[in-house]
Amino acid sequence: MPALCTAKATFKKLSGSLELTDTHLQWTQDSKKAPSVRVPYAEFASLFCSREGAAQVRLKVGLVNDDAGHNFTFTSPQPISLTERENFKRELTTIIGRNRGAIDATPARTPLASTPGTPNPTVSRPTVPLPRPSTSRAVSVSSGSTPVPSGNDATTDFRLRKKVLVGNPDLATLHRELVVTGQITEAEFWEGREHLLLAQAASDSQKRGRPGTLVDPRPQTVDGGEIKIVITPQLVHDIFEEFPVVAKAYSENVPNKLSEGEFWKRYFHSRLFHAHRASIRSSAAQHVMKDDPIFDKYLEPDDDDLEPRRQRDEDVEMFVDLGATREDHDETGNVKDVTMQAGRQKGVLPLIRKFNEHSERLLKSVLGPDDGPAAKRRRLDADSSDRYNEIDLDDLHDAQDSVGIILEMQDRQRYFEGGLSSAKSTSTEDVAKQKMDVRAALREAKDNTQDWGRNLAQLKLEKKSADEALGAMTKNVTARLETRIQKNDLPPNLFRQMATCQTAANEFLRQYWSSVYPPASELQTLATPTLAQRATKEAKMIGYLVKTHEKVDALVRTARIEGVEPGRVEIAMKPVLNAVDKALAHHRARRPPIPRPT
């Protein structure tokens, strides 16, 4: 690979050589063959340099995912190392610039690439001592019908999982309990949790957009009344992009007429810079400015007429075309009053135009230049459906029926018959009800309410029953209060054990049911495991589930030892046990002969 530039440089205090090839930046330690640092272009995010004149000539490269980046120190004698660094700097600046520009234009680097999911024998292996990404990959990564960004290599996959676990302590605990102890494999653990990985991958691949702030280098005042503007390669790049005229001036004058340092110095003193500053106050400072024969050439008069100097003949969509309204009829009427005349404050119009241009530029850097011929065509072709969309009231349409999920019922026949018969019986009642005379009902109601005052006065309550009711209520309240007070009195140790037991059992249940039921079509991210695979898994899970009872018993025993009422533990674990029993019963009913895995 031909190197664009090379230099002697130290990295982490080891001496070696730094090389920039046309795809990577790499650093090779002396006496070694393979580079130990290799960074692809796409990873570069920022660039920092040591100050000119500093003892050491350093270059720091910040990466997309890693702000710390790499630090290189150029080891050649000063003047040479400086030029070397300049070379690197120049190249890297353009690369970084390109990276930023292309942030959203290029599709996000897919962190996971799809690999054909081949049935992997390791799946059925009951114990995998440590998560081994290389073996688990084939299963966790899929080639389902849905486009899933999947790992191009195991490491990204592993990193993703790690991130998910770090961000989710509960899941991490479960993972520790089950996978690290080897009860289920890594692959099985992640099965059905792909969405977490996907979400993580998606959020990882989201890159920060360009910050929207205007490029406005604010001078800092250092003591002695001098002002100072720190120029970073970053700033230079931003200035060039924001003000192409500066880039033009730079290319025309540096290094022939001006040195780089001088260029910037003069630029920041020039009228041009003040014209570029986003403030109307700067215009006040203009008369203090000295003439600058080089930069004044590039100065354009302020764009502060009512009509912009640069007329743009772009086709605007009819629905936002304000110009068409202006031309729709002759101007009539009196002039607008003073406050409604635009552009009375002269300095503001260039500022406003700057805002609009800046926003447009940012937008274009993200969306790509949409105003090209393609966009024109789109607008011309825009068939009526597109225009209808803008005037549509979508909630006035009938909801489109979704396909829905058919309810599978056991014994459907009986259900319908039952419904019919009950309907029959109720329908006769209905008829009877309808026949009931409204007047009669009204009369009855009226009779009932007659003398209500006297009735109310005669109302007497028996003492005994009242007392009873009150007593019951009090008891209820105390009971509630007690439970509330006693809530957390389980020894923490036991409580943790119970929780673990419960989550583990839940996980086994999840695994079991997911292997029993046909995979949901839209979540089919895994290579659909073969029947045999599923059967083995099912059997394994049942094996675990069967043990749940024992575990709970053990818990109860511990509780007794700890001096906690065992009944409470039992009650607490009851739902889990129920669920487990259900699963076991289902398993027995479904397939009496269990093919034991070997």
């Binding site: 910050p211 929207g212 702030t213 205007l214 403030s279 109307i280 009512l306 009509e307 912009p308 007329q311 743009r312 605007v316 969509e317 009819m318 629905f319 936002v320 304000l322 110009g323 068409a324 309204t325 202006r326 031309e327 729709d328 009829h329 002759d330 009539t332 009427g333 009196n334 002039v335 009053d337 003073v338 406050t339 409604m340 005349q341 635009a342 552009g343 404050q345 503001v348 119009l349 500022l351 406003i352 135009r353 805002f355 609009n356 926003s359 447009e360 937008l363 993200v366 969306l367 949409d370 009526s384 225009r387 209808y388 005037i391 009231l393 979508d394 909630d395 006035l396 349409h397 009226k446």
Partner: protein
């Protein structure tokens, strides 16, 4: 869906209908049946246009009279939207037509939109002209009758417009196939077939069922004379988005003269006299002919085709004199001398260095004293100039536009006595020292311009999202509506949240009142509202300022205070500029930023270009912030004169009118965020004066009904808390079914109709019964009904 209202079958191009829409259509039908006028206020974004078109088209198609629909809107985007809406309605009608016969009937229904030559020209050179006036003039040179005649007799002698010539090949009334043609469609058709879109529309106007154009084409006598003359009297006229109709009326009869204009006018007069000399040498008979015609009477002079009309009379048809041009200006050279004298007189008036306000009568008196110009010839000034221009066969008429303006001024000032005022302002502002005089001829009474419309057409519908208080319009425009209605908005959940912020988080009251508007604390508090909302609101935010002046000063101040830097961190910023094209591009970029998810803030001006007719529905506007109350500039002499007139003539108090005008504009701005009931948005009114009861009472009912007591007086931080809460709730899936409450299916409509019928029946019975019971007339079982039951027992 299809349903009937009192036996009128309605085709509505959706599966469901909002209850408001149904009620609106019922009231509209009542108006049409009664052949009267109406004022209807319908909440923004509830499909006003589609209900209106749906009912009127159904009406047209059902009754054999086929009354023509004249639909007026304010802006070209709105015209285009209305046309698209109509096109979609007709597509739907065609697809749901039951018999073949009906289908052909629907297919033959034709609708067109009209706008200026500038917008419709496809001539490769003429259309490149930047100014509409120049396009008009060049087009006329290529298409007027004389040029056409010459060009056809002797091809190549005179340049003609091929696109215009091609139109003559088709038979009139059949220039485009029947159907609905949006402006874009007509342009495309013209390009495809090599015909002129503008004249296609103009010549098709008498043959179509629906015409959609802007207010001016009906209200401005200069345009209406040419365009809307032939429309039959039974046409249905609709003014949509009519909340500013009074301003359009006033503008159409007002004229401004400036010194540069007068200079240009006297140059034109000079050119005219040269031309007369020239003609005298070459073709004296022409002038003789003209003279003879003028003796006979003016009307016969205009026998040429209507599209030749170079400039129409600025005076309303009723006020036109149907008599011959007075003798002293019949001769061309006399008329030119007359014009010269008049222009010179105006120039001398401009030299005065103090403000003058006078009535037309006093102006005429002074004019007569100085120059001996009488009122009568002055009245014919515009007509006479038109005749002369035609006789002399003058090209590039745009160069004569100043003279035309002076002639219109002359005619207007000599025609109207009441409701007008002349104001001479020698300086632009009070503290200016260099004179820049403007002679305003101000129309003060909107009723004058609209009167012929009300008199001529049997049904005039005035409708908008914001025309509260309703009784203001009949008062100002001097008409009696048969129906006058405002509709509340039925919502199953609050789709929008109006908030009134009266003070900043630091408890300093905020207001755009002139005395405090530039106070740094107020500016900062306004700024922090924008910053905070740009942090929490997704996609688009639109902010409106009361005036350009204020927007410009506040944008500069915010920039220097670093407030905009905060906003840049969260959203892009776009600002309305004085140039329409530039603003359109900014708008388009704004919408792209909203679609992309980057989000953007648009700063613009109430009553400005953007506020008049651009919608910010869905993600294009999740929040609208109204900074201050958009009062008009009360120091304006024109406004003062108008207020005085309103007080004297119609007994509308100054403060009442100013408040009404400000609030209708504010409501118009905030109303643009909604389209449909699943759309949602925040409406922030940031001014302490909005909290006052008299201001709030002027808001349209559908907004006012959703302002809670707590939301009526908030500080910035409280408003933010409420907004966050609102957005959290609104972002959830609406569980409850809207159907039946804010959405009606066909059954619901029928149910409502049945109920109405029952109610009507009951009412009838009540009227038959002499039982007097006006105390409990609030629905439900009436006491009488229960009483009867009791008697039976």
């Amino acid at each position: 869906m299809k349903f009937t209202i009192d036996n009128l079958p309605i085709v509505f191009p959706y599966d469901r209908i909002y209850p408001e829409q149904y009620a609106y259509m019922c009231d509209l039908k009542r108006t049409l049946d009664a052949t009267g006028h109406c004022v209807l206020e319908m909440p923004s974004g509830t499909g006003k246009t589609v209900s209106l078109l749906s009912l009127i088209v159904s009406y047209q198609q059902f009754y054999p009279t086929r009354r023509k629909l004249i639909y007026c809107s304010r802006t070209v985007p709105e015209i285009e939207k209305a046309l698209s809406e109509l096109k979609r309605l007709m597509d739907y009608r065609i697809s749901t037509a039951e018999t073949e016969e009906e289908r052909t009937k629907e297919k033959n229904f034709t609708g067109l939109g009209l706008t200026s030559r500038k917008n419709l020209c496809i001539h490769p050179e003429v259309s490149k002209e930047k100014k509409g006036k120049v396009v008009d003039a060049r087009c006329r040179d290529l298409t007027n009758a004389v040029a056409c005649q010459k060009g056809r007799e002797n091809p190549g002698s005179v340049p003609l417009c091929d696109w215009h010539e091609k139109l003559n090949e088709a038979e009139p009334g059949n220039l485009v196939p029947p159907g609905i043609w949006t402006l874009a469609d007509v342009l495309q058709y013209g390009r495809d077939h090599g015909t002129c879109p503008y004249f296609t529309v103009r010549r098709m106007m008498p043959f179509v069922d629906v015409v959609i154009y802007s207010f001016h084409y009906l209200l401005d006598p200069k345009v209406a004379e040419q365009v809307s003359k032939e429309i039959s009297k039974d046409a249905i006229v609709v003014f949509d988005e009519a909340h500013n109709i009074d301003n359009v009326c006033i503008e159409s009869l007002s004229v401004d003269l400036t010194r540069p204009m007068l200079e240009s006018a006297s140059r034109s007069v000079h050119k005219l006299s040269e031309k007369i000399e020239e003609i005298k040498q070459t073709d004296a008979s022409k002038l003789q002919d003209e003279y003879a015609k003028l003796v006979e009477g003016l009307q016969e002079a205009s026998d040429a085709r209507d599209e030749d009309a170079f400039m129409a009379n600025p005076v309303l048809p009723d006020d036109l004199l149907k008599e011959a041009v007075p003798g002293n200006i019949r001769k061309a050279e006399h008329f030119v001398a007359f014009l010269k004298r008049f222009v010179e007189y105006l120039k001398t008036r401009m030299r005065v260095l103090h403000v003058v306000a006078e009535t037309p009568l006093s102006f005429l008196q002074h004019l007569k004293d100085i120059t001996y110009i009488e009122r009568r010839p002055l009245r014919f000034c515009a007509e006479r100039l038109q005749s002369l221009v035609r006789t002399l066969n003058i090209t590039r008429l745009d160069e004569f536009s100043s003279l035309q303006k002076v002639a219109s001024f002359a005619t207007l000032v000599a025609t109207y006595e009441k409701g007008f005022l002349l104001i001479l302002e020698p300086f632009e502002t009070d503290n200016a020292t260099v004179p820049n005089p403007i002679f305003h001829f101000v129309c003060l009474d909107p009723a004058i311009a609209i009167k012929p419309v009300f008199e001529r057409f049997s049904s005039v519908v005035i409708t908008s999202g914001t025309i509260s208080p309703l009784d203001m319009y009949p008062k100002m425009l001097q008409f009696t509506p048969v129906v006058q209605e405002t509709y509340p908005m039925t919502l199953t959940r609050n789709a929008f949240l109006p908030l009134i912020i009266t003070r900043g988080s630091d408890q300093v009251a905020i207001s755009s009142r002139f005395e405090v508007r530039n106070d740094p604390a107020v500016v900062r508090n306004f700024g922090s509202i924008l910053v905070e909302y740009s942090k929490i609101v997704p996609d688009g935010i639109v902010a409106f300022f009361p005036s350009y002046l204020y927007m410009e000063s506040i944008v500069a101040a915010w920039n220097d205070m670093g407030i905009l830097n905060e906003v840049w961190k969260h959203k892009l910023i776009f600002v309305e500029t004085p140039d329409a094209n530039e603003t359109s591009i900014a708008l388009e970029n704004y919408r792209r930023a909203c679609n992309n998810g980057r989000g953007a803030v648009l700063l613009s001006v109430a009553r400005g270009k953007v506020a008049e007719g651009i919608d910010f529905d869905h993600n294009y506007g999740r929040a609208v912030i109204m900074f201050g109350i958009p009062y008009q500039y009360t120091e304006s002499r024109i406004l003062k004169a108008r207020l005085e007139y309103l007080r004297d003539a119609y007994r509308i108090r100054e403060s009442e009118f100013l408040g009404f005008d400000a609030i209708r504009n504010a409501a118009q701005c905030v109303g643009r965020v909604l389209r449909g009931k699943t759309d949602w948005g925040l409406m922030v009114f940031a001014d302490k004066r909005f909290a006052r009861a008299d201001k709030r009472a002027k808001l349209p009912r559908w907004i006012n009904q959703y302002i809670t007591e707590t939301a009526a007086n908030l500080s910035t931080d409280m408003a933010l808390t409420l907004s966050k809460l609102f957005m959290r709730t609104i972002s959830q899936n609406p569980n409850e079914n809207q159907t039946g409450i804010s959405l009606w299916t066909l059954e619901d409509v029928e149910k409502a109709q049945a109920k109405q019928k029952a109610l009507a029946l009951e009412m009838e019975q009540l009227q038959e019964d002499p039982v007097d019971e006006d105390e409990y007339g609030d629905g439900g079982f009436s006491d009488r009904l229960i009483g009867e039951l009791d008697l039976d027992i």
